[in-house]
Amino acid sequence: MLSPRTPPGVTTELELPPLAVPMATLGDNEAELVAALKRRDEMAFVTLLQRYQGQLLRLALVYCRTTELAEEVVQDTWLGVIQGIDRFEGRSSFKTWLFQILVNRARTRAVREGRMLSFSSLAEEAETQSEPAVPADRFRALDDLWPNNWAVPPHSWGESPEALLLGAETMELVQRAIAQLPPAQVQVITLRDVEGWSSEEVCNVLEISETNQRVLLHRARSRVRAALEAHFEERNR
């Protein structure tokens, strides 16, 4: 990390003009940011806003049906941070704490607005019988020479499908496929694969077991893969 400050006792040989430090880069160190926030350092607040606002909004949208409501929940969350930071002792990471505030506020709010999507229990959703990752009819019958092996195998999406996968059309398709998943799956796949969280972080914030988290992730990824496959097969027909 580059610091614009010169450590005491170090003299610079040349008087260089001050480094142009972008408005909100206070460094990556979370503890440092939290300490700065407790000192009411506005730059720390802006840094955190820029870092987490998008992620907060995305998770809020999972709970709230409208963008407007989601934005309010996110704003509530930041107010919660302002009110609570002096009592934050760093027992969990700041990120976990922040997202727990969001999840709590989003649930409360959604209930009050009568727009609670069914979040009664993520674990419950993980435990319900699910459809298989791939429909059973794509595998050979039990009386076949190779029972339960591919009957209708997947076809390669090509050697370098990046252009295809990253096209606007595909992105929209992926977004739609995720939006159509059951709520618990949306939360898990959003945090894991869209935001790149670790499974531990997801379990902490959503308060589910590693196993449940993995089950939900598996179902969600399998469905998105299936949507992409259907899309590419359609194209190649």
């Binding site: 990752a133 791939v134 029972p147 092996n149 992105m171």
Partner: protein, 86 residues
């Protein structure tokens, strides 16, 4: 014709183990059997590839960003935030 060693796993089982495999949580023996299956089953290799490509694609979804009005409102709250240092 000799029978290929599919690691004692059917393809139907493999597609349900893919996430555990990618998460690195399969028990050692099961992980070995999974690899063995892949070494002789091209469709399952393709399937695993598609899962990886799916995950990579999801990771490229555009970010939501903070709007200026929201930022302004929050900064106003921040500036009006009383100090309660102990």
């Amino acid at each position: 014709m000799t029978t290929p060693d599919l690691g004692g796993l059917t393809c139907k089982e493999v597609v349900e183990l893919v996430t555990d495999y990618l998460e690195g949580v399969l028990p050692v023996d099961m992980h070995r059997r999974f690899d063995q299956h892949l070494s002789v089953c091209d469709p399952c290799v393709i399937y695993l590839d598609q899962m990886r490509q799916t995950i990579a694609t999801i990771g490229k979804l555009p970010e939501e960003s903070i709007s200026q009005p929201v930022m302004d409102t929050l900064l106003q709250h921040f500036r009006g935030w009383p100090r309660e240092r102990t």
